[in-house]
């Protein structure tokens, strides 16, 4: 990620302080490691999205004096379909993360 853009994303998340971030696609999951370095340790080496989709990664967030849960989600777009099974899997992962 371009270094100049990272602070704006960091600032945006810092306003909201979400408990849960749903990372839509491997690229977002990959980039979130720059904001939450512990995510790098939590993710399996050479992960593939198919293997981690629906997983919830809890990582420290010092700015929030707590933690944030990152839900790995395959790339969702309006351009292609989404199975009902995957929809339910993701919904249940987010429920687990918010719980």
């Amino acid at each position: 990620m371009l270094a100049r853009e990272r602070p704006l994303t960091h600032q945006l998340l810092g306003d909201v302080f979400p408990n849960v971030i749903v990372a839509n696609g491997s690229a977002v999951l990959w980039e979130l490691r720059s904001l939450f370095p512990s995510l790098e340790d939590a993710l399996p080496a050479n992960y593939r999205m198919r293997e981690v989709q629906g997983h919830v990664f809890e990582v420290p967030w010092p700015d929030a004096a707590g933690a944030v849960r990152v839900v790995a989600c395959p790339h969702l777009s309006g351009s292609f379909g989404l199975s009902q099974n995957l929809l339910v899997t993701l919904g249940e992962a987010v429920r687990k993360a918010t719980g």
Binding site: L8, L12, W30
Partner: protein, 149 residues
Amino acid sequence: MASVISEQTSRAVYDDALLAYADPAHPCHVFRTLQRDVPDAEWQLPEPFNGASATAGIVFMGLNPSYDPGEPVPRIGTSFEDWDTFYRHRLDGEPSLWPLLYRRYQQIGQIAVGDGFRLGRDALASRWRATAVPKARESVRACWRASGR
């Protein structure tokens, strides 16, 4: 938990978008040329976030830029106030009329939180700084190539 994006942050995103459009030295200036079928004078400003709050503490974060030549979204020349208001209230209307991606976020939220879940109020839909996307994707792909993925 604050759950709301501040005006200061929103304005910083807006200012960066204007800079990306106007300044050839901006690393995201290339994005100005990537909106096919959109006249340059009607360039669609980047989509920063959608919704007014995230009371359930959820942010859906995507990466790809989203644009539709025919969609009535804020264009270059739109004031900060109008741009900011548009995106904070973009999801106020009937969900069946939302872009498909946001309808999917809504479905996921309903499974997770319950039928009363409402994207735009209980969760925000955000982008990882959309103006950066072309270079960001190149960067990510380069990383994947380097790591053998």
